[in-house]
């Protein structure tokens, strides 16, 4: 929500004011769609989650207690909807609250690719092809790590807000964030390592 926008009236929203609701949708839906798209990697699925999020919000607003901010509350609904969509696609996928075998007993210190891809030119790092590789790498993360990475690094939420939106402890968020980042680093090292080899042979 941008700070220059007209502030939303929680009172009006809770009383069922349609115009206030439309205003809330306009101020928040870009973020909600972005989160859904990054978690699901598919525009149609993201749009379904977007619609379901606001339908749920519309129904639940009268009982919204304001213990978290409106935005955090919406994020939470959207992430739960997105995880349900992931589970529908892949029945064995896990919810963010459940213990995740991907996390148990996993050590961060697996063998790591050591490729210094920082020296590639920006144009190469941010080319359309590289961007596709970046997106694909996110989709390769297990959902339990992906949601944390999306909220913290793509949406730019603080650790505290990420924890609140996902219903996790801050320590849990930090652990998952580190694992997500290390996995992405590993995948990008392999990808950009290939590009570096091409450069050498050129």
């Amino acid at each position: 929500m941008s700070e220059t926008e007209k502030p939303l009236s929680l009172e009006a929203l809770k009383a069922g004011d349609r115009e206030a609701f439309a205003q809330m949708v306009d101020q928040t839906s870009g973020h909600i769609y972005h989160v859904a798209l990054q978690i699901l990697g598919d525009e149609q699925d993201a749009e379904d989650v977007l619609q379901e999020t606001y339908l749920k919000a519309l129904r639940s607003l009268p009982t919204f207690e304001g213990r978290s901010s409106l935005m955090t509350w919406l994020y939470r609904i959207a992430v739960n909807e997105a995880l349900m969509a992931v589970r529908r696609r892949k029945p064995q996928a896990l919810s963010v609250e459940e213990p995740d075998p991907d996390l148990d007993g996993e050590s961060e210190s697996q063998a790591m690719e050591i490729v210094d891809f920082c020296c590639l030119p920006e144009g190469e790092l941010l080319s359309a092809e590289s961007r596709r590789a970046l997106d694909q790498a996110v989709q390769h993360l297990p959902a339990s790590l992906r949601v944390v990475f999306v909220m913290r690094d793509l949406e730019g939420l603080s650790i505290q807000d990420t924890a609140e939106a996902l219903g996790l402890s801050e320590n849990n968020v930090k652990t998952r964030l580190l694992r997500a980042r290390l996995r992405l680093r590993q995948e990008l090292s392999v990808y950009f390592g290939g590009r570096l080899k091409e450069e050498v042979h050129r």
């Binding site: 439309a22 769609y33 680093r185």
Partner: protein, 87 residues
């Protein structure tokens, strides 16, 4: 391309790396990491590429406005069509 198997010293530092690159680590631990990075080329590359990874994602991730047709279908679904133009 080489593979880095961590020795115990590197492994101890690994758990703090996210906090380190976010600048949220206590000064004491920071200087411990920095001392280690001066001696360990592989860890230095891991830290630099980890930081670069996060930077690349942050740079390419601009939350944008809803595509017009997506907004329109959302407003219709929510029975808010009368506000499609107004808000």
């Amino acid at each position: 391309m080489s593979q880095h198997i961590h020795d115990p010293q590197c492994e101890k530092l690994l758990g703090s790396l996210s906090d380190y690159i976010d600048g949220e680590l206590q000064a004491e631990l920071c200087s411990l990491i920095e001392r280690h990075l001066q001696q360990c080329d592989n860890c230095r590359i891991v830290v630099n590429t980890l930081r670069k990874t996060v930077e690349l994602y942050r740079e390419t991730s601009e939350p944008s406005d809803l595509p017009g047709s997506v907004r329109e279908r959302l407003f219709l679904k929510l029975d808010l069509d009368e506000y499609l133009k107004k808000v």
